[in-house]
């Protein structure tokens, strides 16, 4: 029996990617009967689905975010253990993006398609590393799909953060970092660099840090920034969602040095526009070299690009002799979480 063409059984619909023979949508933007969720970020995991297939960690994150609306029939998938849905075999594999993040391999009559969601290739102490999976079609993001994006070693960025703290002992160091993933990774990297003082959190970060710890990710002593005094916050590292770094909330901090941990900080104008004093290039997405390396590693003859700067990645992939095209998917955050 000849293999079906991937485009005949995985379709782009206004709701998201539709795996037709399993009647399942990946990261759908509206409530559906059966969803597979790659990871907990808001542009991928949404409330209101009936059956939800995701890792236990992602299900817990959705429960924390959406409470009763997190999906009527959750089903936990383990990394590397296939689940059969009709004629389709579904396997979740680590994506290295945030806790619980997965690429999803769909296998149908010998045809293999990997939906990678968001991913990175760097080591991250808070989640298992990306594992390349051979496939016929690799579906990838392109958040940092331009050759100017090359993330530096995150240890050097953490060293900058600690140097700023030593230089400015009277000031708080306020780090803008997404509440899911970036926050915990920055904390874990700080701990690895030997910083064992309490780290202070904006209220929006606290619940997810506890959730990470319940899954065995140790984050060391954490305190609420809202309850701390100005004196305690002098010389302290404080984490808050990126929006709060320019908000009234930060007035409680003693003359804060504003840092932001994001792959976008590579671009000076971006950092300057946001008034960032200490840009930290720490990203949970693959950089340009890693996007291309991953395409090599999975060795797929065809690449579909979901969100980000598709045109440059498609151009570069095409130069390697593979087929590549953009999927006009809606609903994803171009900025990447």
């Amino acid at each position: 029996m000849s293999q079906p063409a991937p485009a005949d059984w995985i379709k782009v619909t206004p709701v998201g990617l539709h795996v037709v023979p399993a009647d399942l949508h990946v990261d759908p933007v509206r409530p559906v009967a059966r969803a597979a969720i790659t990871h907990g970020h808001g542009d991928h995991a949404r409330p209101g689905h009936d059956a939800v297939l995701a890792t236990a960690e992602t299900l817990a994150i959705m429960k924390a975010r959406f409470a009763d609306d997190s999906g009527r029939q959750p089903q936990a998938a383990r990394y590397g253990e296939p689940i059969r849905l009709g004629e389709v075999e579904v396997t979740f594999m680590p994506a290295g993006h945030v806790l619980g993040s997965a690429q999803i391999l769909f296998e149908y009559r010998g045809s293999r398609v990997v939906v990678s969601g968001d991913y990175k290739r760097r080591r991250d102490p808070t989640c298992p590393p990306f594992e390349p999976v051979a496939c016929d079609v690799f579906i990838t993001e392109a958040t940092f799909g331009l050759p100017v994006f090359r993330h530096p070693d995150d240890r050097d960025e953490i060293a900058k953060l600690l140097a700023a703290r030593d230089r400015e002992p009277e000031r708080a160091i306020l780090v803008g970092a997404y509440a899911l993933g970036k926050c915990q990774r920055v904390i874990a990297l700080l701990r690895e660099a030997g910083h064992d003082a309490p780290i202070y959190l904006h209220g929006a970060q606290e619940a997810l840090c506890r959730l990470y710890e319940s899954f065995g990710v140790a984050l060391g002593p954490l305190r609420s920034a809202t309850e701390a005094t100005k004196a305690e916050l002098a010389g302290a590292i404080v984490l808050a969602p990126p929006g709060a770094t320019a908000d009234r909330w930060m007035r409680r901090l003693p003359d804060p040095v504003t840092a932001v941990a994001s792959g976008w900080m590579r671009i000076r104008q971006r950092a300057k526009q946001r008034g960032v004093e200490l840009p930290l290039v720490i990203s949970d997405h693959a950089d340009w070299d890693e996007l291309l390396q991953t395409v090599e590693d999975v060795n797929a003859p065809e690449v579909w690009v979901t969100h980000g700067r598709e045109e440059a990645l498609i151009h570069a992939v095409t130069l390697t002799g593979r087929r590549a095209r953009a999927l006009a998917l809606v609903g994803f955050d171009e900025e990447g979480q």
Binding site: L146, V148, M250, I267, Q269, Q273, L278, H315
Partner: protein, 523 residues
Amino acid sequence: MKAFAELLDGLVYTPGREAKLRRLTAYFRDTPDPDRGYALAALTGNLSLKTAKPAMIRQLVAERVDPILFGWSYDYVGDLAETCALIWPTVAEPAQTPRLARVIEDLQAAHRAEVPGLIARWLDSLDAGPRYALLKLVTGGLRVGVSAGLAKTALARLGAVPPEEIEEVWHALAPPYEALFAYAEGRGPRPDTTEKLTFRAPMLAHPIDEDEFAALDPADFRAEWKWDGIRVQLVLRGHEVRMFSRTGEDVGPAFPDLLETLHGEATLDGELLVGEALSPSGFADLQQRLNRKTVDRALMQRYPAFMRVYDILFEGSEDLRPLPFDARRERLAAWIGRTALPRLDLSPLIAFSSWDDLVDHRLSSGASAAEGLMLKRRDSPYVAGRPKGLWYKWKRDPHLVDAVLMYAQRGHGKRSSFYSDFTFGVWADDDALVPVGKAYFGFTDAELVELDKWVRNNTVNRFGPVREVRAGLVLEIAFEGLARSNRHKSGVAMRFPRISRIRWDKPPAEADRLEALSRLLPP
């Protein structure tokens, strides 16, 4: 290069003078000669290098990167040096990274044809941050807001030499300033500065408040007009002439019409002005001649430059600065009389016997090119910097206009959680607001909190860090003068605008109109 690149980043991203100072001081302390000296020169614009043209940099990148990818990247990043620094492919076995001094000395020694090869080799050996610093350095685009004042304060913090002393010798030395650093760190003697065309730090005045006059005796003071030109220092050694700005920048080349008329043996302090027959024609005319790379003959004839002198620092090699003002003034008047140079004149003293006399003078229209008065103690020596109690400036009352708040932008540093930069406008003919200026001070901290709240509650549009607000709040703006401007839609540009009062009470419809403002334009 790495330390220099980190310093640049620190200076670019760090708001606030004190934090920048700490960065600079630490760099000067921790970096060996001659790198730190070259860095000082590069940051303060005192380094002359064979610079690379942007086209050459593009060519180097084009040899290594797919042109389509480069094009998209450049569109996205917007800055050539930054795009090239980020996109430059890493090589498998990079050469040793060069130090800053090496880069500069090799560039100075290289033939023009060798420059591209040198730059490419350095780029191969560096990471993205230092690559950016290198490219900015070789394309001459190193503008990070380090003034000479900031740099000299940082040098002074290396040891026990006061900033004025640093400044006094700095300008007589050349990069990489090893003798200057040795002196600043107390390891070396004070460098000898005689016999050189050296800039001397000028003496500055304090603004005076009306209520301070009660404590001052008019008999102790001399009064002069405060001319609305540019403060300059003229250093003459025979026919060698240099003209420096207040900050020690060499501004002479833009004014050959003045410089070629000068000779003598003196260091003079005064105001650079333009106008026919030594009659000043206004700051806007002078501005036409500034910041030009080439001298425009027509402009030079239309706006001939001259200098109105008010102090003398050296005559020959004699340092007159310790003398009292009156004695220096006598020496100056005699010198000007003796040399009779056609484009120098003496700034006159204003006779007065009481402060009330001066009020009349200050308001008089007799000196339209003046922006107020200077009061100088008769016994004041010439002291670099801004010493207390010796010189005062008494500005003419500012102009006031009622304008309507249009946009607000977040501030920096401490103010980054506040909307603290305010663009305001007045009503134009078509009953629409047209922006006429931007102010970011003039209010108290408490008022800032109120303004910030008002902005947040009245936002109609957002563009990045900027909020557009509804036309609902009147600000009384004080400003020093108005010039015509092609760059502004309104056709006018304000000098030194600031918020003098927030008119919570005033209906926006009653704010000023553009016609009223235009009447203040010089004819």
